[in-house]
Symmetry: C2
């Protein structure tokens, strides 16, 4: 009998208890013995089948030598950080889906785990139930990773899908997402690209092996996106998606950012719809590899946590692949990245040509929409300085 604790009993915590119970047979077959939730840390006691296991006293977990793995499902940084540290210091493996904590303090917590000879795993923090971090760090370990990009937030992808399919305005699509439970009452972390931003930081940390400071990563959401651009892009064979993107730069540096992009419809990521997520990883040997599935939800996320619990227990004493250096140097402003740009301006084609020389015209009808040749973000801003810009987005090559 292997005993674990769950800290926090919201969506993810409840899901972990459910998966441990519902898939007990599969889990026992693989571990060789049953897995049991022994203690659940909560702030407020709730009635139900798990009432007996609940405590509001963290030392009941910290001081219990019977508990080998702790699932941190508290969320945020403050209490989650404190208890994760103390659990690692107490020699327990810790597993989490907490992207904010991993993006901000992951490097330090991994280092602490290494010193205490235990694991700190967080597959569920990116892509929910979609395996991404393990494949990236293990199965693609013989590659130099040159780029990672993806649809990392289901809420915004749902909103964009509704805008494309039904011609809904952003605000209406957001209300629909909230009514369906896909968007939270306060959806700002999703629609402003912050949730996707934390995930691309974690992907960049693992892909390039050095810490990316979330504060240095520009995060742009979809709140300013106009239905007009969605339609123009679609007619020209593109889809607009909110991408988190991390790129190895030609000079050896690296960059990361979140922003809406025009994506050619032949790219499989262009067809990723509704609340689905997808992550594309470009390795110098494998080429492009894509991971696709539901990026959130109680059971998918929880099942990834439980798989990490099993991984902690099977890897004795711990696995070393998941780590990165705390060195944040070498991070470049994504404005240095050269891509084609989409512009919609109030003005004529002559204005566009005066600013950018030759452009590919997508639409000209009172307003003018066009694609530039590949240029840096800096040049895109400088050259469009005298134009009346209504919309500006990068085009994924």
């Amino acid at each position: 009998m292997i005993q674990i604790a769950i800290m926090g009993f919201g969506t993810v915590g409840t899901g972990v208890a459910k998966v441990v119970s519902e898939n007990a047979r599969q889990i026992e077959r693989k571990l060789g013995e049953p897995l049991q939730v022994k203690t659940i840390l909560v702030r407020h006691f709730k009635d139900g089948p798990y009432r007996q296991l609940m405590t509001d006293d963290f030392t009941r977990i910290e001081e219990d030598d019977g508990i080998r793995v702790v699932v941190e499902a508290i969320g945020g940084v403050d209490a989650a950080y404190t208890y994760t540290r103390r659990a690692l210091l107490a020699g327990k493996h810790v597993v989490t889906a907490n992207k904010q904590l991993v993006a901000e303090r992951g490097c330090e917590l991994l280092e602490l785990a290494r010193k205490k000879n235990v694991s700190y795993l967080f597959e569920a923090s990116v892509g929910g139930g979609i395996p991404v971090l393990h494949p990236l760090t293990q199965c693609m370990a013989a590659n130099r990773i040159d780029e990672v990009y993806g649809i990392l937030n289901g809420t915004t992808n749902y909103i964009l899908t509704r805008m494309v399919r039904t011609g809904a305005f952003f605000s209406d699509a957001l209300r629909e997402a909230q009514a369906k439970g896909y968007a939270e009452a306060d959806p700002s972390a999703d629609i402003h690209g912050i949730d996707a931003g934390r995930k691309i930081c974690i992907l960049a940390d693992l892909a390039f092996g050095s810490q990316v400071d979330p504060a240095a990563v520009p995060m742009e959401g979809i709140s300013k996106l106009s239905l007009r651009d969605v339609k123009i892009a679609q007619r020209a064979g593109y889809r607009i998606k909110l991408l988190g993107r991390a790129v190895r730069m030609p000079g050896g540096g690296r960059t990361a950012y979140v922003a809406p992009h025009l994506i050619p419809e032949e790219n499989p990521i262009a067809s990723v719809e509704d609340v689905y997520n997808a992550v594309m990883v470009r390795g110098n040997a494998t080429g492009d590899v894509m991971f696709y599935g539901r990026g959130a939800g109680e059971l998918p996320t929880a099942s990834a946590c439980v798989a990490d619990v099993m991984e902690c227990l099977q890897a004795s004493p711990r696995r070393d692949e998941i780590s990165w250096s705390s060195d944040t140097s070498g991070f470049e402003d994504p404005q240095e990245l050269r891509t084609r740009y989409y512009f919609r301006i109030e003005g004529s084609l002559t204005d566009a040509a005066m600013a950018f020389g030759q452009v590919e015209v997508l639409s000209e009808d009172g307003e003018t929409a066009f694609l530039t040749d590949p240029i840096s973000g800096r040049d895109a801003a400088r050259q469009s300085g005298f134009l009346n810009v209504l919309a500006c987005m990068r085009v994924l090559a």
Copy 2:
């Protein structure tokens, strides 16, 4: 310095040497020391940069205690099986991309590896450079896997893509694939579904935990596929793809087979084109998860082998997740599986209705093409007995 040997120096073996050399820096950073190819087993010596390392004497590998991992890139069963056994018996980890050997003798070789406390890993045997087997067995370990299906053969997918896009006949598309180097001079293992069949056996072994005997798995290829069906399917919103499919049956049994299917165009696997592969895994907690990328090729396949080499070295002494029971009982004839069926018959709608009752008509123009309600393969065969059947395929739900 960690030393490995390569057995066989064709496409995969050469690729492994290339990846070890080209990505030496990435590999050393992760392993903590350099990786070196020490010995290469060949039948015929070839000139080139690796000439010094070549031998035609297997005992030079078997008896060399400096060699910790052997990459088997011989292919087929005979010599590959013998040398793999002897390498495992000599206490060396073995890594391979050899799907035939794994499908036929994998269970036995895994058991031998377990006894000798070493690893036998074969991520590259399914999907080339696409991570599939590790994610399935590790990251989805907390799931009950209910179904796995995929486009497992790039050659046939390329041919189908050409038929759809350009309206080419099967034979012309095959010649084009051969001219481009995507199909071998003798393409029979590809076009008759045997290559995909070996891969779906391995996926079924790992997904359901019990041996699937390749001889029990019906394998149908695309050689009989008509352009007419491709066009009818497409107009009705379907794509035709050759799928390997493994399903957990309602009664607890399992089945597997390879056959062309009609796939609704909304399913992301319907848009997988050219030589790309994709594998969809359905877990009871994660839902559908898809893995996509180039399923073959020298460097992708080789990089998966090298990642497995690294995995052998990092997991001390070995990892246990990748294994299955030798019990072949519980395998059911895929004819028991209930799906909708596509039929094209020489005859009228009345004939169709007399055979199947209500059907969904796709085309009626001299011939009649239609979809049935979900029925077993047995019933599909029985009820169509008196019809003049020109084409018959399952529809993926």
